[in-house]
Each structure stands twice: as structure tokens, then as C-alpha cells.
């Protein structure tokens, strides 16, 4: 899995290290406002939206951060890099399952 494509793995590592750059944009994407932001952004919380907004609230690393680690940029950046690492490991493990079903 790791012996080929070394340059691509290195490039991926570089992106993980640099990902806190994505924290510079603090605004919420259009249509992704949380129920806490809706009164300010939209003026009200639509009734149907309120019913389903918290359908899934068990994300262990919500918003790519460690809960409680948002005091300063260093903490957010640490949580962000850790989140990228966790996500990348999970993605790689899941995709590598294809090794078991590809016959060549």
C-alpha cells in the first residue's frame, strides 16, 4: 500500500500539515448555518429544519475540532490537523478494502 507512489503520499502529508490554513475563513458556507446561527442569518428557524437538524449529533470530532479545544488558533489548528489525520486514516483503511476484492 505504501511502497509505491511515495511522492503522492508525501504531497498528501503536506496537505494535512497545511490544512489549518482552511481555518482562516471563519464564515459559514451558504446553506450550512447551524440552528444557533439561523436567527441571525435568516431571521428565524424553519419548523421542518428544526425537526431534523439534530438527526445526527454523535460526531466525535464536530466541525473538525476536539470539543473544548477552541480557545485559540493553536488549539483549533491542533484539532484540525488531528481531524485531517483521523479522516485520512479512515478513508485509506476503507479504500484499501478493495485490495481484498480486486483479483487483477
Amino acid at each position: 500500500m505504501f511502497k509505491d507512489f511515495k511522492k503522492l503520499w508525501m504531497a498528501l502529508g503536506m496537505f494535512i500539515v497545511l490544512c489549518p490554513l482552511g481555518l482562516i475563513a471563519t464564515g459559514t458556507a451558504f446553506g450550512e448555518w447551524g440552528t444557533d446561527q439561523l436567527p441571525e442569518e435568516v431571521g428565524f428557524i424553519p419548523a421542518g429544519l428544526a425537526r431534523f437538524a439534530d438527526f445526527w449529533s454523535r460526531s466525535p470530532l464536530p466541525d473538525y475540532g476536539i470539543p473544548g479545544w477552541g480557545e485559540n488558533f493553536a488549539q483549533s489548528a491542533g484539532g484540525y490537523i488531528l481531524s485531517a489525520l483521523v479522516g485520512v486514516v479512515l478513508v485509506v483503511v476503507l479504500i484499501s478494502l478493495f485490495n481484498k476484492i480486486i483479483k487483477d
Binding site: K7, L8, G22, I24, G27, F30, F52, P62, V92, D104
Partner: protein, 240 residues
């Protein structure tokens, strides 16, 4: 572009899940048949790259943000079926572990970013590149345009899904039940952000990525796209 739960009615979101199940089934089968074992790491890296690039939020003037997706680069390297699997895996993990994008809306999100985007981008790339060399200016420009248009196609269908809710689902007193703005507002907001900022970034990422791979691993970019090996020798149908 990750639609959270609550912004689409269940009547809209659940059919997208129902649509994606057979698409994922077909994609797993296609990848199993067409991808070579030695290419699995490329799919893993590509999917991981897509996961990571979506964390690079770009500030949009006016207090919003947007990001690139990486789906077209994956489609150029390994074909749209592989891209569909790679980006879907990234999106599902983002929803479950990081709360980015909803669970009920995961079908719509995968349709937008793991179906519309890679197929549109792949088609444009092939059309523009033709049979020119992977490192030619034409091929690099093709990758830029494919990334740009692919991301904007995804943003457009996302805006339609958002905006349609306003017109279709309202409470008795006329207040919107789910996404609160009209199609016009949704399309204008999504398209201005993605045409002016996220699209060019997607194009640059796609072009640079395609160049980097073509330079370092030329076989990846030639065998599949230029048909130098006959389809039946590989047992592949060139992903279309």
C-alpha cells in the same frame, strides 16, 4: 456544499439515498473489475486528498466560505466510477465523524459531489484533451476547465435542491419549512461563490494535480485515457 440535515425535506433527501444505493453498488462492481491492484493506493490517496482539500475553506467576501472538492482530479486519474467511490467515502466519513453534511442528506451530497461533479469534469477533460499528451498545455488547460466546470455543476445542482424546498414545502402560514430562500437566491449565491472563487481554485488544483501525476507517474495518465492498451486487454471499458 455539504447540505446539513434539515435543509432538505425527507421527501427530497431520502429518494437521493435510494438513488445512491444502486449507484454505489454499480461503482463498487466497476472498480472491482477495472481497477488494478497496484492502483488501489492511488484511489486511497485521491479520496484522502479529496477529504483534506474540502477542509481548506476559502473566505468569501460578505462572511461566507466555500471549498474545492477534488472529485475531477480523481476522475481524470482513475475514471469517474473510482472518483464516485473515493469522494463518497470521504463524504460519508465527514458526515459521521465530523458532522460536516447531514446523514439524511448524505445521498444528495454524494449525488452532487461524487456523481455530477466527476462525470461532468471527466467528460469535459476527455473532450478537450483529445489524444494530446498528458503533459501538453492542452491537457493541463483541459484539467483546469474540467475542474472549474465540474465544481460549478455540483454547486448548481446543490442550489436547485436547496431552492426547490422553498417553493415546495411551506407551512400553512406560508413560512418555509426547510431551506428558507427561493431558487433564484440559492442559485445566485451558490454560483457567484463557486464561479468567482472556489471554481478557479478547483481548476488550479485539478491542473496542478494532473500535471504532478503525469510528470511523476506517466503510466497512470496514459494507459486509461489514451487507450494505448486495448480495452479488452485490460478487461476495462474505459469507465464510460
Amino acid at each position: 456544499m455539504h447540505i446539513p440535515d434539515g435543509y432538505l425535506s425527507p421527501q427530497t433527501a431520502i429518494p437521493f439515498v435510494a438513488l445512491m444505493v444502486p449507484v454505489w453498488g454499480a461503482a463498487i462492481k466497476k472498480v472491482q473489475l477495472n481497477l488494478k491492484k497496484k492502483e488501489v493506493p492511488v484511489l486511497a490517496i485521491g479520496a484522502a486528498f479529496s477529504f483534506t482539500i474540502m477542509m481548506f475553506n476559502l473566505p468569501i467576501p460578505g462572511g461566507s466560505s466555500a471549498h474545492a472538492v477534488g472529485a475531477v482530479l480523481l476522475a481524470i486519474l482513475l475514471g469517474p466510477w473510482s472518483a464516485c467511490i473515493g469522494v463518497s467515502v470521504a463524504l460519508i466519513i465527514q458526515a459521521l465523524i465530523f458532522g460536516d453534511g447531514g446523514i439524511i442528506s448524505v445521498g444528495a451530497n454524494c449525488f452532487n459531489m461524487a456523481v455530477v461533479m466527476p462525470w461532468v469534469g471527466y467528460g469535459i477533460y476527455k473532450l478537450i484533451r483529445g489524444r494530446s499528451d498528458a503533459l501538453s498545455t492542452r491537457a493541463i488547460v483541459a484539467a483546469f476547465i474540467a475542474g472549474y466546470v465540474g465544481l460549478n455543476a455540483a454547486a448548481f445542482v446543490t442550489a436547485l435542491e436547496f431552492g426547490s424546498q422553498y417553493h415546495l414545502f411551506q407551512a400553512a402560514d406560508g413560512t418555509p419549512l426547510y431551506f428558507p430562500y427561493s431558487i433564484k437566491v440559492a442559485v445566485l449565491a451558490m454560483m457567484s461563490e463557486h464561479m468567482l472563487l472556489a471554481g478557479p481554485v478547483e481548476g488550479l488544483t485539478t491542473a496542478l494535480g494532473a500535471w504532478f501525476v503525469a510528470k511523476n507517474y506517466p503510466a497512470l495518465m496514459t494507459e486509461r485515457l489514451l487507450g494505448r492498451i486495448k480495452p479488452d486487454e485490460l478487461g476495462v471499458d474505459h469507465h464510460v
